[in-house]
């Protein structure tokens, strides 16, 4: 090999040239016998460059970079934001895959047990928050694999297997030998793997069980615990401080998950109250006689406009937007 051609390159090198030479940098930062041999060779061949090389080496050893460190709080906040972002990713499911997924569910159940155990081993119960705005529905994946569909204008604060709810959410709890707790301001639901819906709005909390088994405990301490069976609805009113148990269709109760509102023999005012809670607007029905009418059948609630359109067609009213927060429903016939 031509030794001259290698060393020739360095004849006119200044200190800064050596500083920016990748091969030279490697010698300084990650020295090896090979690199040492090579650079000793260069020095031997170019004795006039000895001082320059030594200086360049000294320079590289004496520079470093300013370190910018984020605060722990900034890191934690950023992570929480990231977690919310990844939970907001819609699940990709094609029709064909859905069947496969159903078959995989059995396996997943077993994996979740293992996964849940693994997660329990991890230290510290971090708390997370997920919330929805008016007219927004979101699915949240909890760390234990449980799924929560959050209805509009709702918020959950959660750690591993404990959730605090304001608003409405449908829970699909992963089986796990540890209990799963959901708290609202008035009561606590204890779960062992099941699907149920809690609707806590204004003064009322309603729980509908789709499958599995849950236990309700009341914050007031006056009511006895209730063990619910599928198809039951328990509603609790914080004014009367009493619960009422009856039967219902869980699928209908939770139809909001598919952008539908199906209430049991609802009056127009029941529907308007629901819409107010979920879309954050005040809705006034001018004709009180219409408020008491019963409207059966599903109402599309993909947006407030959609819902009001359906209602006003049925009731023969028109929708007047008085200002940004108030909507008036005015009877067409009275005009």
């Amino acid at each position: 090999m031509n030794k001259k051609s290698i060393t020739y390159k360095y004849v006119d090198y200044k200190e800064s040239d050596f500083l920016s030479d990748a091969y030279f940098q490697e010698w300084v930062y990650q020295p090896s016998a090979d690199l040492d041999a090579f650079w000793q060779q260069v020095i031997a061949a170019l004795p006039q460059q000895k001082e320059t090389i030594e200086n360049a080496r000294l320079y590289l050893q004496n520079i470093s970079f300013v370190t910018h460190t984020p605060s722990d709080e900034a890191i934690a906040n950023s992570w929480e934001k990231q977690l919310q972002l990844i939970q907001a990713i819609p699940e990709r499911r094609s029709g064909v895959r859905r069947l496969l997924l159903r078959a995989a569910a059995v396996v997943a159940g077993a994996l979740l047990l293992a996964g849940g155990w693994y997660l329990l081993q991890q230290k510290g119960a971090e708390q997370f928050i997920a919330s929805t705005g008016f007219g927004e529905i979101k699915q949240v994946l909890l760390p234990d694999g449980s799924k929560v569909d959050l209805n509009a204008n709702s918020k959950i604060t959660y750690s591993k297997r404990e959730v605090w709810l304001e608003g409405e959410a449908l829970f699909n709890v992963a089986h796990n030998n540890k209990e799963f707790l959901v708290h609202t301001k008035d009561l606590t639901v204890t779960v062992l793997g099941t699907i149920f819906d809690i609707r806590q709005r204004r003064r009322k909390t309603e729980i509908v069980l789709q499958s599995g088994k849950i236990k309700l405990s009341f914050a007031s301490g006056k009511e006895q615990d209730i063990i619910m069976t599928p198809g039951q609805i328990v509603s609790y009113n914080d004014q009367e401080k009493r619960s009422k148990t009856s039967s219902t269709s869980p699928e209908k109760f939770s139809a909001w998950k598919n952008q539908r509102l199906i209430l049991q023999d609802p009056t127009v005012s029941d529907i308007l109250v629901y819409l107010e809670d979920n879309f954050g607007k005040k809705i006034i029905m001018e004709d009180p006689a219409l408020s008491n009418r019963t409207v059966n059948g599903p109402i599309l609630i993909s947006s407030l406009d959609d819902a009001l359109f359906v209602l006003s067609t049925v009731l023969n009213t028109e929708v007047v937007k008085r200002d940004s927060t108030t909507i008036i429903m005015r009877s067409r016939s009275s005009k």
């Binding site: 800064s16 940098q25 972002l85």
Partner: protein
């Protein structure tokens, strides 16, 4: 880099993901600050890079150098965001170069004053890319090839030539060493 968190992430392990996120958050915050003081742009870039990583987690088995993958994605996204931002806010042209500035370089005060001054001068002659290369290779642990790919510089032919001549040198040394050992043996016996 064999980061166990990366393998766990492919299985959708949220705790592994959390660990990975927090580790790289510190690194990218530090790296990003060399380009901009706008921490919102840095934050948004980190969010974007990781969100994309999470979405593609089941396709990550093709990525054989995760560290490199993350650094190059982050740099690309951040520079893009700085460009967009500057264009809107300062009406700056897209051609503006975004580079490491020598103000981030610290000169050790163990050197005497004369050498410190000379070193300061020498640093000023280095380009931002040259400084960034030093930073990535020796502080962030990327390889020369990876750095060349990130900074979009070709792996210089001279570097290859040097590597080759080096192995030639090494051979010569080995022969010399063998000869030396042989002579020693002769002397002993």
């Amino acid at each position: 880099m064999d980061n166990p968190d990366f393998k766990q992430l492919m299985n959708g392990d949220i705790d592994a993901y959390s660990g990975l996120y927090k580790e790289y958050y510190k690194r990218f915050y530090n790296y990003g600050r060399k380009f901009t003081t706008n921490i919102h742009l840095i934050e948004d870039s980190i969010q974007e890079v990781f969100l994309d990583l999470w979405k593609r987690r089941d396709k990550l088995s093709h990525v054989d150098a995760p560290n490199y993958y993350l650094y190059s994605s982050f740099r690309y996204v951040l520079i893009k965001k700085i460009r967009q931002h500057d264009k809107i806010v300062f009406n700056q042209s897209a051609e503006e170069a975004y580079e490491f500035s020598s103000e981030h370089v610290i000169v050790s005060n163990e050197l005497n004053e004369e050498l410190q001054n000379k070193l300061q001068k020498a640093i000023k002659t280095l380009t931002g890319r040259q400084l960034e290369a030093i930073f990535l290779m020796y502080y962030e642990g990327l390889s020369y090839k990876e750095v060349a790919a990130i900074l979009n510089i070709s792996v210089k032919a001279t570097y290859k030539i040097m590597a080759r001549s080096l192995s030639a040198l090494k051979e010569k040394f080995t022969i010399l060493l063998l000869l030396f050992e042989y002579l020693l043996l002769v002397k002993i016996f």
